[in-house]
């Protein structure tokens, strides 16, 4: 395994059905907590115009870009239609001892 697990935050720092921006080194991620209390992570910037997604609305399993309303399923990263057409990269997330951990692939 060349995945490197990074501590993001305490579980309680992300509301249910919401998203948190997480910056690590030069990279930025969006970390989600679903209404079912599951955690997910995607690249932090919209594939359309590089807007930080964490300012956007999470409803059900969809994140909506705060600028142009492009929508993605944050579980799969799938772009759900114009103006977004390129999927988001997704990252594994796990919860351990009340902390949210994000796996980023080592270069």
């Amino acid at each position: 395994m060349n995945d490197q697990w990074i501590d993001v935050c305490a579980v309680g720092e992300i509301d249910e059905e919401d998203v948190l921006r997480f910056d690590h080194g030069p990279h930025t991620y969006a970390v989600y907590r679903s209404a079912e209390n599951e955690f997910f992570a995607t690249a932090g910037l919209c594939t359309h115009e590089k807007i930080h997604l964490a300012d956007g609305l999470v409803m059900d399993h969809v994140i909506e870009c705060p600028k142009h309303n492009g929508r993605f399923d944050y579980r799969s990263g799938k772009a759900l239609g114009a103006p977004v057409c390129v999927n988001l990269k997704t990252y594994p997330v796990r919860v351990e001892a009340g902390r949210v951990l994000l796996a980023v692939t080592a270069p």
Partner: protein
């Protein structure tokens, strides 16, 4: 003729989005996209921000690259504008004399910056990418810039010019900034922001003349400057449609399906004059170009969908953003947010949400505006007390 093409006149955001949508929706016939500008279809909002400041380029604003256009077999004609439309013959003529027949036509001809009648050479305007580049070349540290017009273009240019170190004066004829589309409290917030950023903003100003090195006001005051840029609105490009006998008002008039008065001819984007709540209007916004471009494409394919999208726009200035959805009404409820940010709700007589306007740093009010869009669609009566309470979750209101 079944093998006649679908043609889109106007290769801006609306026209480009329509072309891409036609292919995404499975249309495989001939598809021609005709534009005046020598560029691929692009989105205009970055022109007054990133492009002026040098942090965004044309490729970053484009709806797609040329490889994608070729892959989708979209014929893109530029520098060969349409000179004549014959709707009864369902054909149009290009500047080089060639005729093209169409099975369906979309007019997305947009507009051009409205000119001042007697501006001298050297006055700049901002509507197109090339105009943005010309303006950028004129903005240097210390440049004394006078901006005529305190609407969104003028204000965004002011913010960009300040970030480039220019000395900026904004002249507005009306009593407040962006007064046509914003509530007074937001106009006031914009005014304070620009003044804090060192812009000299003058309201209720009447111009006497523009000179090569100064702007002269009606009261005789002379404002020396190095550059004048004028942002006083857009003139819709409706001459082609008007000459062809299509119904036009302040734009190309369409019905609820975005159909013009000519058979198989649709209109979309800035040039399209459509009825909302019984009133003819144009929407010169990114959001409208996106929505109508897509919508007209679907109806060109026979979907017969009425256009009912909720309007909205945003404007980024410095680190702040004003963002709206829906329409302004007389019944306004204000919700204060931390740090001087603000969320305004506009209700109808039954207390159903009709519109909202957020004023906040960055994109921090975007979630609330996205929820307001859903509350507008949900049409549920809302209490003024809940809306005014910063601790009352809009998502909670939406889900009852």
């Amino acid at each position: 003729m079944m093998d006649d093409a679908l043609i889109i006149v106007g290769a801006g955001h609306a026209g480009g989005r329509a072309a891409l949508t036609l292919r995404e929706e499975g249309y495989s016939g001939r598809l021609i996209l005709i534009g005046d500008e020598p560029h691929l279809p692009y989105e205009r909002p970055p022109l007054s921000k990133g492009v002026l400041q040098g942090t965004a380029d044309l490729a970053g604003c484009s709806l797609c690259d040329s490889a994608r256009l070729a892959e989708l077999n979209i014929e893109h004609l530029s520098r060969n504008p349409v000179t004549l439309l014959e709707p009864l013959q369902q054909r149009l003529q290009l500047a080089d004399g060639r005729w093209l027949a169409y099975a369906g036509l979309l007019l997305a001809t947009g507009g051009r910056a409205r000119r001042l009648p007697q501006g001298p050479a050297g006055v700049l305007y901002l509507r197109t990418h090339d105009e943005a580049l010309a303006l950028r070349a004129a903005l240097r540290p210390g440049t004394r810039l006078v901006i005529v017009g305190g609407g969104f273009i003028g204000l965004e240019v002011a913010a960009s010019a300040r970030s480039l170190g220019c000395e900026v004066t904004v002249l507005e004829a009306g009593p407040r900034l962006a007064g046509r589309v914003l509530s007074p409290i937001i106009s006031e917030a914009l005014l304070n922001l620009h003044r804090r950023q060192g812009v000299e903003v003058r309201l209720n100003v009447a111009l006497a003349s523009l000179q090569a090195d100064a702007v002269v006001l009606a009261d005789g005051e002379r404002l020396p400057c190095d550059q004048v840029v004028v942002g006083i609105g857009m003139q819709p490009n409706l001459e082609l449609a008007a000459a062809a006998g299509l119904d036009v008002g302040q734009g190309i008039r369409v019905d609820a399906y975005l159909r013009t008065s000519a058979p198989s001819v649709y209109a979309a984007g800035d040039v399209c004059e459509f009825r909302r709540d019984g009133v003819y209007q144009r929407q010169e916004t990114w959001r409208n170009a996106e929505a109508q471009g897509r919508h007209a494409a679907l109806n060109l394919l026979g979907r017969e969908l009425p256009f009912e999208a909720v309007p909205g726009f945003w404007s980024d200035q410095y680190d702040w953003c004003v963002r709206t959805v829906g329409v302004i009404t007389a019944l306004m409820v204000s919700r204060p947010l931390p740090g001087g940010a603000l969320l305004l709700f506009y209700l109808d007589a039954d207390h159903r949400l009709q519109g909202a306007c957020g004023w906040a740093p960055g994109n921090s009010v975007a979630k609330d505006i996205a929820l307001c869009e859903r509350l507008i669609s949900a049409a549920i009566p809302l209490s003024e007390a809940s809306l005014a309470d910063p601790d009352c979750s809009l998502k909670h209101l939406l889900r009852g």
